[in-house]
Symmetry: C2
């Protein structure tokens, strides 16, 4: 039974928003205020947010709120006029990457960034073939939804799209197996008369179940797509901006140089800003033939928000915090495995953590139903996270980067409780 | 010769943003502050903004800045949790439309809204055929750029897309001619084995050259697409939110009921918010099979911005102002035709005005080069506007809705000066 407020909100959602809007949890959550790693309900109860990567600096971060308000009160306009904001931010953003990535382009969402990346890749290569992982998620535009199998069976995978197995195993052969898949996909595209345009991967493979080890496993696959004349697009919408702890961008952990890097979610701490960086020679064909104008993309307010986010990450060294607290959290999660046979692999880098739940450690059979119980059980204990992977049996832990050890302790204590009830 | 600051900014743009970014004007404009209908350069000189439909309430409107800052300081989260903001706004938005349009969905950009509209139309109809006008602009995603011929020759029009002539003439037969084109496009789609999914039009035909008369001319074409089993998508990204003066939405001027209405630019007075409304029965197939989650779409801050925009438009009756001042402006522009043979048709509704410039009134030969001179001449006189249409010979005048008669006077005086120099 939902309480009166919840029941009312659910009825209004069904009536006003319709059937395509979905909620988390058996009992939906209704926050009214946020601060740091905490969300608060109407009663003032704090909820630990171990899931929201859109607010890396924590909820309602004052520096970002002030940056937005200050710029919005002065000027908000578009990129067909000159403005320093976009140039100052582009310069700072590009400085976080290898020098080869020389140009930046701004959109409003990660979906738009990936969609544009494909347009650029097609212009550069003359091909349309796109390789993604078997349970990838890259966005919701028509073109990118067709390359996002994790959206489910209702999305028809594009004729130009090939799916490869995610880089599982975490062993010395992971990279070779992944590259074998990419090479087979390239061959299949070519056999169908399609020229490979791009290999597009989320560099932490979040929706596939979080695969981050061993660092470096991407190299052979990147070489393979380059050898076939395609480009490598690193989707940093989820891992980017220091979350992995080991590097500011997920691709840097792997020692590879992308042709295009897309980014979004954490970039404005909730403000709708996203974009991509690109090697100038890869941008040339698209840029010479065409223009790209995104009405809101790169506007002064969005750039002020994004700049404030970079300030806070860099001044507070949140990347180092992600490394430190992420390591601590994964150790504590692994220790739970001594008490609960359901605990499988603990994966991840920094504060992007996947905890696999298995019905059997030998067969690695997924504990899908139990994972849903754990997610909802934690929700009953005021801890917010979700599950991922093709079998939805991998707890996805992806808190704000200001997450501290005490928060990790609380999360693991509550998880311990819930696992004890299974 | 550019001044030092401009030359420096241009060099940085070329280096940091690359070739896909384009600027307005021979001598780019560099605003540093905005207020009402005015933009200010670094010297404090005011420039009359007669072009920016993204800030219907005027630049840096305090009510919107405050709404954004207030909500951002409290909570910004996503639609997988419950929140009143999206429901309150959806209710208000839907109340501005016929009751048949029952559901709202939120995105960040108009491109995303049109892209999603096509996904919904395809799910509902089972078809993929899309009919747009010959010089249409609907957005920049892969799927929608392929249906935006005004982006230029480098965009390959999709195999599923058919182009029809814009509704020119402004006479009693305009609607029939337009519908004849739509019927021919339907037949051609069917002849190629493609089922028509949608007729998608900007209801003021902005990029085609601004065609608004006679009100009602859309009816026969809408009947035609319905008879063929397709849906009618009204792209209100430009005309929506009261700009046409005669109605809050462009489609209402024509007395037609869209199946989907898309919107964007003015919705948040510069904040990146966009969306669509849809007849529930048209949403059913998409919504039953699928979900739509846009990370930033419909977040509490975006909804607060959009809600403040509705407040100000309604409390200040900016729609009535658009009607009154738009009428006044068009009369003054028409009067210029007594002195300058280059002045052709004066078109538009409310504060969406197109002034056609012709080399010859009898043949209506476009005065393309002169139109560019006029746009740049007005820029030299601190008046901002642009040109549109396949021949770029139609001055596009689309100021903030707070534009007053004195601003119209200033615009026409400056235009009079520039026309005198040709």
């Amino acid at each position: 039974m939902h309480d009166t407020t919840t029941a009312d909100l659910l009825a209004r959602r069904a009536r006003l928003l319709g059937p395509a809007y979905r909620l988390f949890y058996e009992e939906p959550f209704h926050p009214v205020r946020g601060e740091g790693v905490w969300l608060y309900d109407a009663k003032g109860t704090p909820w630990l947010d171990a899931y929201n990567n859109v607010v890396p600096l924590g909820h309602a971060r004052p520096e970002v709120v002030e940056a937005i308000a200050r710029q919005a009160a002065v000027l908000n306009t578009h990129t067909r006029y000159l403005h320093e904001g976009i140039l100052d931010y582009a310069e700072r953003l590009l400085a976080t990457m290898p020098a080869e990535l020389g140009h930046a382009t701004f959109t409003c969402t990660g979906s738009e960034a990936n969609d544009l990346a494909m347009r650029i890749a097609t212009a550069h290569t003359g091909g349309t073939g796109l390789i993604v992982t078997r349970w990838a998620y890259h966005g919701v535009t028509s073109a990118i939804a067709c390359a996002s199998p994790s959206l489910g069976q209702y999305v028809r995978i594009g004729d130009n799209v090939r799916l490869v197995d995610a880089p599982t195993g975490g062993d010395a052969e992971t990279g070779k197996r992944f590259a074998d898949g990419v090479r087979a996909a390239i061959a299949d595209l070519q056999a169908h008369g399609l020229k490979p345009a791009a290999l597009l991967v989320d560099t932490v493979f979040s929706s596939d179940g979080v695969f981050t080890a061993p660092a470096g496993f991407l190299r052979e696959a990147v070489d393979a797509i380059h050898a076939a004349g395609g480009v490598f697009i690193a989707d940093e919408v989820q891992p980017g901006f220091g979350r992995t702890g080991e590097a500011f961008w997920g691709f840097l952990r792997h020692g590879v140089l992308p042709d295009i890097v897309t980014m979004g979610k954490p970039m404005g701490n909730g403000h709708p800003v996203a974009g991509l960086t690109v090697r100038p020679e890869v941008m040339q064909a698209f840029g010479q033939a065409s223009r790209y104008f995104n009405t809101f993309g790169g506007n002064p307010v969005s750039m002020a928000a994004a700049s404030a986010v970079l300030d806070v990450i860099q001044q507070n060294d949140l990347q180092a915090n992600a490394l430190r607290v992420g390591h601590y959290l994964r150790e504590k999660l692994a220790a739970l495995g001594q008490h609960y046979a359901i605990v499988g692999e603990v994966r991840g880098a920094g504060l992007f953590v996947g905890l696999e739940l298995v019905a059997d450690r030998a067969t690695r059979a997924p504990a899908t139903a139990q994972a849903a119980k754990v997610v909802n059980g934690l929700r009953q204990r005021q801890v917010l996270l979700s599950a991922t992977g093709p079998n939805a049996n991998v707890l996805k832990i992806r808190p704000p980067l200001v997450f501290e050890r005490a928060h990790a302790d609380l999360l693991v204590d509550r998880l311990d409780e819930v696992l004890g009830t299974l």
